[in-house]
Every structure is written in C-alpha cells, then in structure tokens.
C-alpha cells in the first residue's frame, strides 16, 4: 500500500488494528484460562500484558508513516472548531490579517507587474534603449536623427536598431476627424520588438527614405473603428495630417510603443529641416537588440567608440556627447521603482503590526488554555506535538486571512492602479498571477509562523502539576514580558508610519503654499491640431493661428486667449543656449534657458507679473526687430545689478535679440523641485517671429491657453466647437485646466500622503486595539491581587495608577524605539520623495503626541474597569 492509500483507507486501517489487538488479548486470555486461571483474572492479565491499548495503537499509527499528515488534518479540523467556538476572536483576527495581507498583496501585484515580470516581447532581456549623454546631464538626451543613422551603420553588437519619434496628428478620412497618437518609426522597429503584424507587413527599408510613397501601419483599434476589421483595409487610403497614406499593415491589439499608438509612419520620410541637424534633438528614441551572445558591456564599449568618433567628426554639435545603452525594462519603469518599494515597505509594517496584534491575542488565549494543554501533556501528548498543534492553528488562521486578503486584493487592484497619479508604466500588465498567489501564500505562512511561534512555544513542558493546579489565573512573568514586548513593537511601528505620514503632510502643506508663478485659477489648457490644409505653408499656418485666436476670443466665457509651445509645469522642456556677447561660448559651456514661444496675451492669461519693460505686442512680427522677454532668474544671472531692458541677447538658432521686458519666474519644474532644477532661467519670444523653417515643428507643439470668466471646463465645449472650423478637421485634445497641471506636480506627494495616512491610521487603530486587549487581559489576570490591595486599603485611584503605569512604561519604550526607526525612515523618505525634510521636530512632536493620547485612552478603559471592581467579588475569584 502506498502512503496515500494508507491515508485514504484510514478507517479501514483503524478497524483492522482494533481487530488485531482484540484477537491478541482474547487469544492470550483463552490460553490463560486453559492453564487454569479464572476467566476474569485471565482477561485482566492478558490486557495488562499488552499494555494500554490506546498507547499501543498510537505507536502503531506512528509506524504507519502517514502520521504527520493525519495529525495535520486533525489539527486543522480542531483549529477550525476552536475558531468557530470564539467567533468574535476569529473575526477580529481574520479581519486584521485580511487587511494586512490584502494591502501587501496589492502592492506586490503592482511590483510584480511593473518591475518583476519580463516585458512581453520575445527575449526581452536583449532589448536596450540608447541615449545621447552629456557630462552635466547624466539622465540622457534623445537622439539627433543623423547620429542615429551613423550609430546604426557603425554598430556591430546591436542589431537590429530602430528609431521612434512621437508624431500624432489628425486622421480625417475615412470617418470623422480625430486627433490620434502617432509614431514615426524607422523600418526595423517591429524587427527590434520581435512582434509580427496581424495583417500586412512592416515598412520596407526603401520606404524609410525621403520621397518614398507614403505608407502607414494602423493600430488594431483604428482598423476596427475606421474599417470595421475589414481585411481589405490593406491597400486602402487613410488621410493623416491632410496627406493620403496607403495602409500596409495592422498592428496587434494593445501594442504600445512609448504609450498608446494609433498610426505608424516611416521616420525616414520626414523632410523637416530638424531631421538633418545634429544640434537638434527632436525627441527621437532609439531601441535596439543585443546580438545573440553579445553582452550589454560589449555594446557599451562599442557605443563609447562610436560616440567618440562622432564627436571628432562633428565637434560643433557632438563635442562632449557620449552614447549609452540601458536595458529597456529599466527605462520603461523609470522612477516608479522607488515609490513602489517604499509603499511595499510601508504596507509590510502594517502587516507586521497586524501579526503582532494577532500574536498577542493568540498568546492570551494560549495562556487561558494552559490547563487544557497541561492536561494533554499529562495524557501523553509530546511537547513537539503540542507546538505543532498550536502552529497548525495559527497557520489555519493565517491562510484564511491570506485567502481573504487575496480576494480583497483582486477587488482592489484595478481601483488602485487607476488611482495612481500620472501614468503607471506597464499598468495594463498588472494582474494577479501565480507569482502573486505564491507571494500571498508565503506571506501568510510566514506571518502565521510569526504570530504563532510565541504562543506555541508557550506550550507547557515543565511544572505540569503547577499548571494543572493553579488554573488559568496566574500570569507567568515571561508571558507578561512577551505581552509588553508586543505592545512596544506595535507602538514603535505605528510611530514610524505616523511620522512618515506627518512628514508627507507637512511637505504637501508647505509646497501647496508655494507661489507657482502663475495664476492657475480659471485657465483652460488644450492641445490644438491645426487643419491639415493649413499646415501646407508657413503663411497659411500663421493665418490659421491668427484666425483661431480671433475666433476663440469670441467664445462665451473667454477673457483672454493665447497659444504657447510650452505649458508650465507640464513635464516638458525646450532648452536653448544664450549669451550676452556676440561670441557664443562653445556648445558644452553655454548657459541654458527654457525657451517658450507665445502670443501677446500669454501674460494676461497666465497671470505672470510684468516686472520691467513691456511684453509682446502686435507689432512684434516677422521682419521687425527680434525681441525676447526674460524672467527674473535669467535677468539676475545674465545682467546682475543692471536693468536688462534694451540690452542685446544672443540666442542659439534665433540670433541677436533685444530684451524688451522682465517677467516673474514661473516654477516650471514643479512646486517641489524647481529650486533644485538644473536650468531655471526662462525666456519668451513671440510666436509671430518664429522663423519659417521651425514653424511646422512649432505648430505641432502648440497648446491653447485661455483665461475664462466661468469654470474653465464649461468653456471647453464651445471652444472645441469653434476650433473645428469650416473644414471640420481641426481638433482640440488633451483638454485640462491649469489647476490640474499645477496640482499634478504634487500628485506623487499627495498620493503617497493618502496611502500613508491610511496605513498609519490603520497602524494607530491596530496599536490601540493591541494595547486595549493586552491591558484588559493583564489587568484581568491581576484581579485577585487588586482585590487584596483594595481590601488592605488601596483606593481605586491607586489601582488605576498601577494599570496605567504598566501601559505608560510600554508606551515610553515603544515611542523611544519608534523615534529611532522614524528618523531612519524619514531620511529614506527624504531621499525618495522630493520636498520632504527628514527631521522636523514639530511633525515628530505632533504625530507622537497623537499616538500617546490615543494609546493612553486605550489603556484608560481597562484601568478604570480594574479600579471600579468590588474587592469582595475580586477576592472571591481566587
């Protein structure tokens, strides 16, 4: 019989065992009777000879080898039964554990989807992203197109290699005009990603050139929406940005490339001048695959060589530039990593507190069951057996909590991901999988062990007699210490979370009161895609923008309207070099400034204060003298101690320009980090003076900004209608308010604060429950002692003091430990979250006082109850 057969036929085995032993005894008795013993005496002797039948049976069961599993099942059944006997206890413990493990599982699910799971491309570990890099900007620049072409030609270790550039636009036929997200890609992009199209083909190398026939690959969504999934869509025409393209391929559903994409066009067909300029970095990102067997280190060495070669060949643009490769996964995930681990850490603290709480509940129960356990030992149970039983009980509890937690996580994961501020990379790949389940199982078992160990080890071994005689009312010193240790732990953990939440709250408060430099109230922001017809020449573009501004000023609720190529605080930048002398410093030493191209009413719309001189007017247009307006920071930097108005400034690509005014500084890089930003200087120039060759590029980057007299989003509908124009192919998209943009810069802090508030609230609640439970229990154990004290003349206040003194001791130690841990946690938080100052005595004081008050309140109830009892009843309990 195999072990599982033995396990399965347990009943049969038991019956046979019983029968075998009965046969033995009866046979023995028969023999004894035959030798002349009286039947009753014979029976007695035969039974004595065999020994205690139950002990023999136990040993035989041991010999079966399935003992552990049988015991486990038995213990599990017993555990469920005892839990059901005390539903209150079970509910509190399960709820605590479910919350703890649910929160932890949610965080792990996100981490698993975003950080741990490999990218969903074939051989994802070989995918890399390339950057140009300068010494003073290690974060990396996007590529210049020509540098990409050279790099692709020269590299041996990276192949295939492909480039991608954002290039959205208006699809006007077939169907309604709609702005869609687009990418210009070089021909080998799909080869790099290793994905095949659902229909049609990728771009051919000869299509990836200026002047080739316009071809397009469309997304599955667009195929469905515009062609109804018709296979004959291939070869049909799609009008994109006013130009007819032939559909040659359909991308698989859900394909993303640096975000959602609807339209792919060949990058090589782009004839904008910017593509031929090594100085310009028009947002080209380069992806490549390591050759089979090649390593990242080899590729980096080779890229360094190519970078040096390019710097020698084109010193004017490439001096000081190097080329680096980084794993794609790391690139896509970016700085989310630290936030995720931070949250997992915080959530684990909550789980830990939950465990400690359940541990102290279980310990109290174990002590009250001491007599039962001692009885079992007296009846022959080994200590190991009792420990195992206790552990099984906690495992049952932990696993049930874990299952509930996974259910909670399954329900909570989507809302959590949606709630994430900004874009959570790879959000679509986040779901529960076997790894998450394994994690939840592991976490539950580990926490079960954690909170089950103390009560299990408490199982009696020595002084059985005492335990049996004493009853459940004496508290052994060690258990009191253990209980206090639990409370101390809980308080310390709660201090850490509370202080972290406090630090975040203070940071948010402080940053919210920072002046952003703009008046964000009642400002509508939207991107504009001009009518494709208007894009045909610089003259038509200028007319189209002018017309747009005029029509929008007539929209009801509009106060003033402007366009800009850079919305403040919107995670975008456009850096340019400047100089106060005609002799420009070399490219790597030139001071940089943010450059924004705007129309005259911009200042009015954004509420940026004018400090000196004037802002742009209608007369500043192409042909008139080039003018710029600078902010205070640039004025300070370039013209210290004198008025800049009227001075000359030499600006890269624009040439010499006259400074006509100074305006207030706008915290472009966000309320939190603007002070530490690499480049803070800001410069504005009139959109009307934009050189013809850059007009197309500028037009595609323009955003509408509109100050309204009504709530901004209420004006959006009318504005959108007005923009559509006569040809109905001009669209507004990404409609937002400036207030949303400003508060978006603090989204991370706000999000973390919210989660930490929830976590620390939970921690505080659990710690209070813990203190309350432990003190109630400890005071309950001391009832007879208090009775004696009161009988001897102690007042109720004295008894209360005894109980409170005990809790104050625990609180003081817990807070002490907590402060030390919170200091460390604060430093971590300060490193990971911008704007957080790790040591703020006020925050520490406030949060800790809150905890102490709550803890004292929680201990006050049991103390009062102890002091109010009747000494006579108390004494009788003995």
């Amino acid at each position: 019989m195999t072990w599982w057969q033995r396990l399965w036929r347990r009943r049969q085995m038991e019956e046979q065992l019983e029968k075998e032993l009965r046969f033995h005894v009866e046979q023995h008795a028969t023999d004894l009777i035959a030798r002349g013993h009286a039947p009753r005496e014979a029976q007695r002797q035969a039974r004595l000879a065999l020994g205690g039948p139950e002990q023999v049976k136990e040993k035989c069961r041991d010999a079966r080898g399935t003992r552990y599993i049988e015991d486990l099942l038995q213990d599990a059944r017993y555990a469920v039964r005892t839990l059901r006997q005390k539903p209150g206890f079970a509910a509190v413990a399960l709820l605590t554990l479910a919350l703890g493990s649910g929160a932890t599982t949610v965080m792990f699910t996100v981490i698993n989807g975003v950080l741990l799971r490999p990218l969903s491309y074939p051989e994802p570990e070989r995918l890399v992203m390339l950057h140009e890099q300068t010494q003073d900007d290690p974060s990396g620049w996007p590529f210049a197109y020509l540098n990409f072409v050279d790099c692709k030609r020269e590299s041996r270790s990276l192949a295939p290699m492909a480039a991608v550039r954002h290039g959205g636009g208006t699809v006007s036929e077939p169907g309604e005009a709609e702005y869609v997200s687009g990418r210009q890609i070089s021909s080998e992009m799909f080869l790099v990603l290793g994905i095949s199209l659902v229909r049609g083909r990728a771009f051919l190398p000869e299509e990836d050139r200026p002047g080739a026939a316009p071809v397009v690959i469309i997304s599955h969504r667009l195929w469905l929406q515009r062609y109804g999934e018709d296979p004959k869509a291939l070869g049909r025409e799609l009008v994109f940005n006013g130009k007819p393209y032939t559909v040659v391929g359909i991308a698989p559903a859900g394909l993303r490339l640096l975000g959602d994409v609807d339209v792919f066009t060949p990058l090589g067909q782009n004839t904008e001048p910017i593509m031929r300029n090594r100085d310009m970095h028009p947002g080209i990102h380069v992806l490549a695959r390591l050759r089979p067997g090649g390593t990242l280190a080899q590729a980096e060495t080779e890229l360094a060589l190519i970078g040096r070669y390019l710097a020698e060949q084109y010193p004017k643009s490439n001096e000081g530039h190097s080329i680096v490769a980084r794993p794609l996964q790391q690139e896509l995930v970016g700085d989310v990593r630290s936030t995720l681990w931070l949250l997992l850490g915080a959530v684990s603290l909550v789980l830990l507190i939950a465990c400690v709480n359940v541990a102290s509940l279980l310990l109290a129960r174990a002590i009250s069951r001491e007599r039962e356990l001692a009885m079992r030992v007296a009846l022959g149970a080994g200590r190991g057996r009792l420990v195992r039983q206790c552990l099984t009980e906690s495992a049952v509890l932990a696993l049930s909590g874990g299952v509930l937690g996974v259910l909670l996580a399954a329900m909570g994961i989507r809302p959590f991901v949606t709630f994430w501020p900004g874009n959570l990379p790879r959000a679509e790949e986040i779901h529960l999988d076997w790894r998450v389940l394994l994690f939840a199982l592991g976490a539950s078992l580990l926490s079960g062990l954690l909170f089950g160990l103390a009560p299990a080890l408490h199982a009696p071994a020595r002084e059985l007699e005492q335990a049996l005689r004493a009853g459940a009312r004496t508290v052994v010193g060690s258990s009191r210490r253990l209980h206090s240790a639990f409370v101390v732990c809980e308080i310390a953990l709660a201090v850490v979370l509370l202080v972290a939440a406090g630090l975040l709250a203070r940071t948010l408060l402080r940053l919210s009161s920072v002046d952003p430099g703009v008046d964000a109230k009642n400002v509508l922001i939207a991107r504009v895609a001009l009518s494709p017809n208007a894009l045909s020449s610089p003259a038509t573009m200028r007319v189209a923008w002018q017309d747009l501004l005029e029509r929008l000023s007539a929209v009801p609720g509009a106060q003033s309207v402007a366009i800009t190529d850079l919305v403040p605080m919107d995670n975008d930048e456009n850096l340019i070099g400047y100089s106060t002398t005609a002799a420009m410093p070399p490219a790597n030493q030139i001071p940089l400034s943010l450059l924004t191209s705007v129309t005259p009413d911009y200042l009015k719309v954004m509420g940026v204060p004018l400090r000196q001189g004037r802002f742009f007017e209608e007369q500043d247009r192409v042909g008139s003298e080039l003018v710029v307006v600078i902010d205070e920071v640039l004025a300070q930097r370039a013209f210290p101690g004198r008025s800049p108005v009227g001075s000359q400034l030499w600006v890269q690509f624009l040439g010499p320009a006259k400074v006509i005014g100074v305006v207030g500084h706008v915290r472009h890089f966000g309320l939190d980090v603007d002070d530490q930003a690499r480049v803070r200087e800001e410069m504005y120039f009139p959109f009307a003076q934009c050189p013809d060759e850059f007009l197309r590029l500028a037009s595609s980057a323009m955003s509408l900004v509109m100050r309204t007299t009504v709530a901004p989003l209420n004006a959006a509908e009318a504005a959108s209608h007005e923009v559509r124009g006569a040809t109905r192919d001009q669209v507004l998209y990404e409609v937002r308010t400036m207030e949303q943009v400003v508060s978006g810069t603090l989204a991370r802090q706000r999000f973390l604060l919210l989660l930490f508030s929830v976590f620390s609230g939970l921690a505080l609640l659990l710690a209070c429950i813990g203190i309350y439970g432990v003190l109630t229990y400890l005071a309950g154990q001391r009832v007879p002692e208090f009775g004696v004290r009161m009988a001897l003349g102690a007042r109720s206040v004295d008894v209360m003091c005894i109980v409170l003194r005990q809790s104050v001791g625990m609180i003081v130690i817990g807070v002490g430990l907590g402060i030390a841990a919170a200091l460390a946690a604060g430093h971590l938080l300060g490193r990971l979250v911008s704007g957080v100052r790790p040591t703020e005595p006020l925050t520490f004081t406030i949060m800790i006082s809150m905890l102490v008050v709550a803890a004292l309140l929680a201990s006050f109830l049991p103390a009062r109850r102890a002091s109010r009892m009747d000494p006579v009843t108390a004494l009788r309990q003995e």
Binding site: E20, H24, Q27, H28, L50, G51, G52, V56
Partner: protein, 115 residues
C-alpha cells in the same frame, strides 16, 4: 517469574520477529508466544512494542499480511516475509553473528589475561 529476564538489546526485536516469521506465516499473538518459548523466558518482549514493530516492518515492505482463519476458526492477521524481508533477515543475521563472535573473542581474551 523464575529466571531473571534481560531487556532486549536495541534493534534486535526486528531481527527476532523476522526470524520467527521466516519459518511460517504467523499472527501477532503466536509471534509473541514463540519468541518467549524460543528464548526460554530469558528475553522479555514487551508485548506493547511488538505490534508497532510489526506495523513498522510491514510499512517498510519487509513483511506482508493477510487475514486468514486460525485452526480455532477465528480470523487473524497473518504475517509473512517478503523477498525484501528475507534478504534483510539474512544480512542482519550475518552481521549479528559477526558481532557475537567479536564480542565473544574479546571476552575470552579478557578471561585469559586474568589467569
């Protein structure tokens, strides 16, 4: 109780059980009796440990068991040796013999030294 009885040296119970069963399939009670007879009352087999030992041996595949009728017409569990059990018996008996020889040699030597 006439003669002083010794405890069974550890590990020998299994060997004795195997030896008894090797002669013919028997039930537990018979094994206990046979052991007592064979060892002429010198070795006391605690009957309490006989059955766990039988079950352990069965579990290890050295013994097999069938329910059969005894000569008195009652049903009993009869144990018999498996092939594996027979092999085990042979090797254990041999090593036991070697041990006895060695001990005997040592004891004999000590006697000689005293003379």
């Amino acid at each position: 109780m006439s003669a002083p009885k010794s405890d069974l040296p550890q590990g020998t119970l299994d060997l004795l059980i195997l030896k008894v069963i090797a002669l013919a399939p028997v039930h537990g009670y018979a094994i206990a009796q046979r052991l007592e007879q064979v060892s002429r009352g010198v070795v006391q087999v605690p009957e309490g440990s006989l059955y766990p030992a039988l079950h352990r041996l069965e579990n290890r595949g050295l013994l097999a068991a069938d329910w059969k009728e005894t000569e008195t017409g009652r049903e009993a569990k009869f144990y018999r040796l498996t092939r594996k059990g027979r092999k085990q018996l042979e090797s254990e008996a041999a090593s036991w013999q070697r041990l006895i020889d060695a001990i005997g040699l040592i004891l004999g030597m000590a006697d000689g030294g005293a003379r």
